[in-house]
């Protein structure tokens, strides 16, 4: 891979065949709402695209670098509140999303500096602690309305397609990042850290800096999703955006889809966005139970996630091994 002398953009272009299916999916998603203009369907696609983005973002740190974080609600919530506060102060929503990305990335440094001294489960536990602490603080912060939530007032007409295309662009950016990183030296370093952090350090990777970098990228993307969501919802509250459930959802999608791959987290997002929505609609009382059982099943049967199972199936069809 890195022996190839051609600059990366040219190499990516040369591999257009590999990416042809992705371009087709993207084109499909771009035209879809024009053909099927049911608002509820567009809303479902919109939400799914947002979940896909957080799932892909989480995978940069949790998948590629192997650092399992239960604290992504912090960035989601900070992004949501940053956009909300900025928009109410009269800032253009798209600039507000960028501000959200920056604040979330800054927050990720504050979280990462102490916690990346810990490894494995200890890191995971620390992120739970921080996430809960932030939620409690936000619940009691008076200028954002505390536990009763915060309303976003947008002085222009609501156009659902604006929101939809924003989410589509964001999800594409996230996937592009994921593809790009997996093909660079940065991605190779993250992969080395996941497989053996000590060996990586011994060969000149700075694990601390690499983890902080992946964390910041993931947080920026997650923060933007929080912002886009808050603009759409027009009302946010700490139990929702900072809730532990949000962290868990963000973590479960890549696990379901297939961790440390490009398309696994995307698949996980689709399953979560669409399937979970349908389960909620059909079994409102026991939807979490159904979801939990699905998860246990996946982890027991196929730790590689849906993508892993699919690859196994393909291999069996082709009669290899």
């Amino acid at each position: 891979m890195s022996t190839s002398p051609a600059p990366l953009p040219i190499r990516l272009l040369a591999q257009w065949r590999t990416f042809a299916p992705s371009w087709m999916i993207l084109a499909g998603l771009a035209v879809m709402p024009l053909l099927l203009s049911s608002p509820n369907f567009i809303r479902l696609l919109f939400v799914t695209l947002l979940w896909i983005t957080t799932s892909v973002a989480w995978n940069l740190l949790g998948g590629f670098a192997g650092q399992i974080s239960f604290g992504f609600a912090v960035f989601y919530g900070i992004g949501a509140y940053t956009t909300a506060l900025s928009m109410n102060a009269g800032v253009n929503p798209f600039i507000a999303f960028l501000v959200s990305a920056i604040t979330a990335a800054a927050a990720s440094l504050l979280v990462g500096l102490p916690t990346f001294r810990l490894r494995g489960p200890y890191f995971a536990i620390a992120t739970i602690g921080i996430s809960e602490a932030v939620r409690v603080v936000m619940t009691n912060l008076s200028f954002t309305g505390g536990a009763s939530g915060y309303r976003i007032v947008e002085h222009r007409a609501f156009r659902q397609l604006d929101h939809y295309y924003t989410a589509l662009v964001l999800a594409s950016i996230a996937v592009a990042f994921s593809v790009f990183i997996s093909r660079t030296r940065f991605g190779l370093g993250l992969n080395a850290i996941r497989q053996d952090e000590d060996a990586a350090a011994g060969l000149g990777v700075n694990p601390y800096a690499y983890k902080l970098g992946a964390h910041a990228l993931a947080a920026a993307l997650t923060g933007m999703v929080g912002g886009v969501f808050s603009r759409y919802a027009a009302f946010i509250h700490p139990q929702g955006v900072f809730g532990f459930q949000t962290s868990v959802h963000i973590l479960l999608m890549p696990v379901i889809g297939g961790i440390a791959t490009i398309w696994g987290p995307v698949l996980g997002g689709v399953v979560f966005g669409i399937v979970e929505e349908q389960i909620i609609a059909s079994f409102p009382e026991i939807h979490l139970f159904i979801y939990g059982s699905m998860l246990i099943l996946i982890i027991l049967v196929e730790p590689g996630g849906i993508l892993g199972a699919f690859r196994k199936l393909l291999r069996r069809i082709h009669g290899r091994r």
Binding site: T3, L188, N191, A192, A199, G202, L203, G204, V205, N206
Partner: protein, 244 residues
């Protein structure tokens, strides 16, 4: 040691103390490595040999002491800075990334940006030394045999253009025939001008290919001298080479 001129010493370690939590394992280790030499540290299990190498590379924190590499005290530098100064460790048990290809494992050895521009010529140099790795370049490292994995680990170390190559138990867990082969490689690499500091429980081999050796026991250097002297030493003979 005082008769050796300063400039010919590549690495000098002074009064190194290392603890694992409350348990101190190195009690003031002092050793030095001359440019171009093969130096070995021998001793039994748990004597602190691997800890010494890890401390020199910086993956193990040092409590007290000095590590001078190329006339510069590096004891406070993080490992990735030390790698940039051209020292590298082939760790015990090899620590390859089993799910990366052989070639990616090797390229990881040239990870710091300063080494990266020469990664391609260095790769072909490693393939010249270990033709077997070239045949298996696109195979996952986890699927190699033990001997090939050791070659891959040494090759990965060479990718950092080391002036000091540290080898931790290069013969561990390998068949006797492969052990011969690996030590032959070590000798060839040394002939190319790479200075080698090697830890080995295989005392016989270690003393035969090194010029100077240190005997380490319970965290201290208890004996040092030219390797042929240690090989002839009664105590070493009795305790480590099993002759009576």
């Amino acid at each position: 040691m005082s008769n050796i001129s300063e400039s010919s010493i590549l690495l000098s370690v002074q009064n190194l103390e290392v603890s694992y939590g409350p348990v101190q394992v190195l009690w003031g280790v002092t050793l030095s490595v001359r440019k171009g030499h093969v130096v070995s540290i021998i001793g039994s299990n748990g004597a602190g040999k691997s800890t010494t190498l890890n401390a020199i590379l910086g993956v193990r924190k040092v409590g007290r002491g000095q590590i001078v590499f190329k006339q510069e005290d590096i004891v406070r530098q993080p490992p990735h800075e030390r790698v940039k100064r051209h020292m590298t460790l082939v760790p015990e048990g090899r620590q390859l990334w089993p799910k990366m290809t052989v070639e990616d494992n090797l390229l990881m050895g040239a990870f710091p940006s300063t080494l990266r521009k020469d990664a391609v010529p260095n790769l072909s140099r490693v393939y010249d030394i270990f033709p077997r790795l070239k045949e298996r370049r696109s195979q996952l490292a986890g699927t190699l045999s033990g001997g090939e994995q050791q070659m891959c680990a040494i090759g990965r170390g060479l990718m950092a253009e080391p002036e000091l190559l540290m080898l931790d138990e290069p013969s561990l867990g390998l068949a006797p025939k492969i052990v011969d082969e690996i030590f032959e490689f070590v000798r060839n690499i040394s002939r190319e001008g790479v200075t080698i500091l090697m830890v080995a429980q295989n005392v016989n081999y270690a003393l035969r290919i090194s010029q100077y050796a240190y005997l380490m026991e319970t965290g201290k250097i208890t004996l040092d001298g030219p390797s042929e002297k240690l090989l002839a030493d009664d105590y070493v003979q009795e305790a480590y080479l099993g002759s009576t």
